[in-house]
């Protein structure tokens, strides 16, 4: 039995804010892995953009030379002009097409192979050594070779993206497949499932959520290789747009194009996030 403290003796309950202050601000905000108040998270998130914009604005005023650092309004004007008068939409469309095509080809090959490598030691022992070696060769180092072999057409660009994505992705998927707990498969065997049924009813679905995560990460890398390929010769594309703008010393357009890539990346990431949430509602969220 716990006795009630008479109301007159009880101190009024301190608010969360007061309790935090008593605990000390440092302890509240700088304890490793400790959640901070939601308002503080929001403030810091917006704050980072405020800092970037301020630095940029101050910098452009101090440097006062649009050849080095154009002001924000100048970049904004250039961005609108690009869409309206420079056929920037064509460039974006071409780049997006190459990313999607190159990435799909790479993923369509890397995911099945990675799953097989993760589940069958026979397949892994055969493929892993060369893939491991090639993975360390920077994809951009292949570009000259590809131009000689394939010319400056789409094949060369898609192959470069393929090289950049395939070898990384296949090993990531292999790891994912390898991590599927044995017990999950063993339970299925003891429930009478054949090896084939265990493979497609247990093993495959067990890997799906993480495979989508791996795709989400690797599609970001595809952009790097695409721009490199386009810088070195293409009729159209965001990379081409950047290299042409450089010839005309249009820093404002270059920055606007780079920001566009960032926005496209953000859109891709959001799409993958939505797919993940829609297709795998059962996944336990580790991060908020």
């Amino acid at each position: 039995m716990s006795e009630r403290v008479p109301a007159t003796q009880a101190a009024p309950a301190a608010s969360a804010r007061v309790q935090r202050r008593r605990r000390g601000l440092l302890r509240t905000y700088l304890t490793p892995k400790q959640a901070i108040p939601r308002s503080a998270r929001l403030f810091l998130g917006i704050g980072s953009f405020v800092v970037i914009i301020t630095l940029w604005s101050v910098g452009s005023v101090l440097i006062n030379n649009p050849l080095f650092l154009p002001s924000i309004p100048r970049v904004g004007t250039a961005w609108i002009d690009m869409w309206q008068h420079q056929h920037f939409l064509d460039d974006v469309a071409w780049s997006t097409f190459r990313i999607v095509a190159g990435f799909l080809i790479a993923a369509a090959m890397a995911v099945p192979l990675g799953l097989l490598m993760g589940s069958f030691e026979v397949v892994r022992s055969f493929f892993q050594p060369p893939i491991n070696a090639i993975r360390y060769m920077p994809a951009s180092a292949f570009i000259v070779l590809l131009i000689v072999l394939l010319g400056l057409g789409e094949e060369e660009k898609l192959t470069l993206i393929w090289i950049g994505v395939f070898f990384q992705l296949v090993l990531m998927v292999m790891d994912i497949a390898h991590r599927v707990p044995d017990e999950m498969l063993n339970v299925a065997y003891t429930l009478g499932a054949s090896r084939w049924k265990v493979f497609y009813k247990v093993f495959l679905p067990a890997t799906f959520p993480e495979v989508v995560d791996a795709l989400r990460i690797t599609i970001g890398w595809a952009w790097t290789y695409l721009i490199v390929a386009e810088l070195l010769g293409a009729e159209r594309g965001i990379g081409t747009f950047i290299i042409i703008s450089e010839r005309f010393l249009r820093m404002d357009r270059i920055i606007a194009a780079i920001i566009t890539i960032g926005i496209l990346g953000l859109i891709t990431d959001t799409i993958f996030g939505l797919i993940h949430r829609w297709a795998f509602p059962y996944v336990e969220k580790v991060h908020a």
Partner: protein
């Protein structure tokens, strides 16, 4: 009639430091409808024994017979429940329970009837369409047990199924399991290191030795059936416990000493 029998089962692993003898000369028979518990110090190979019974690994010597037929590979006649639940997170509670029936191509209506019954029996009402992530540890293990039972196996193999649960939940699960057994009368082989659990649940307890694992003692538990939790405080229960504790303690000490000798 469904009995499971181990005939001179031995298990040895080659390692870099030489051969490890995990199990030696295991011969035992669990007759139809008996609840047999295996207890022993950790690392004595009791889980290995269960995996051999399931057909998941092959013994170096000897064999396991289910109703006289050798069990070389896993099959639906020997259902297994693991400590880690191993539910399929992408399937609802109901579809997890129906997994074995689905594999067998049981008609949908029949599957639904059986899973419905087990959901009620396991007190999972209202969670049929929930994903495992929404369940507590005890509920997850009830789903895993229901999944094994739905398949109507000849023998139920349980590998420390309540080992990851807190003490209170474990007690409730033990009561539920003993009631279930009373109802279905399956042949059960239950591995645990919890002595009270073994006495409360088992008809017979096999106490294993430290590595190489052997059956050191077989103990009949003569507590009346059906069992309830008041029996835990009975004098007979205390007697049985002190017997088991004594033997296990001796074996555990041997284990510690052999580890020291190796170091």
């Amino acid at each position: 009639m469904s009995e499971i029998r181990f005939v001179d089962v031995a298990m040895r692993y080659p390692t870099r430091r030489g051969e490890v003898r995990a199990l030696q000369q295991i011969s035992l028979a669990v007759p139809d409808g008996q609840f047999a518990c295996i207890v022993g110090p950790s690392g004595c190979g009791k889980s290995t024994l269960l995996s051999i019974a399931a057909g998941l690994i092959l013994p170096t010597e000897g064999e396991v017979l289910v109703d006289g037929k050798p069990a070389y590979s896993p099959g639906a006649d020997r259902g297994m429940v693991f400590q880690s639940y191993s539910l399929y997170p992408w399937l609802s509670v109901r579809r997890n329970i129906e997994f074995g029936l689905e594999v067998k191509r049981t008609p949908k209506a029949e599957r639904a009837r059986q899973s419905g019954e087990l959901i009620r029996l396991m007190k999972l009402d209202g969670f049929a369409e929930a994903f495992p992530k929404a369940l507590s540890g005890g509920m997850k293990q009830r789903v895993a047990i229901a999944r094994a039972l739905a398949n109507d196996p000849e023998v139920l193999l349980m590998d420390e199924p309540f080992g990851a649960l807190d003490a209170l939940t474990r007690q409730i699960m033990q009561e539920m399991l003993t009631d279930l057994w009373q109802r279905y009368r399956k042949t059960v082989l239950f591995v645990t290191h919890d002595i009270d659990e073994a006495i409360f649940l088992g008809d017979v307890i096999y106490i294993m030795t430290n590595r190489p694992g052997r059956i050191r003692t077989t103990l009949n538990v003569d507590l009346p059936r059906p069992r309830n939790f008041e029996m835990v405080t009975s004098p007979r229960f205390a007697e049985l416990r002190s017997q088991v504790v004594g033997i296990i303690h001796e074996e555990s000490m041997k284990a510690v000493e052999s580890e020291l000798a190796r170091a």
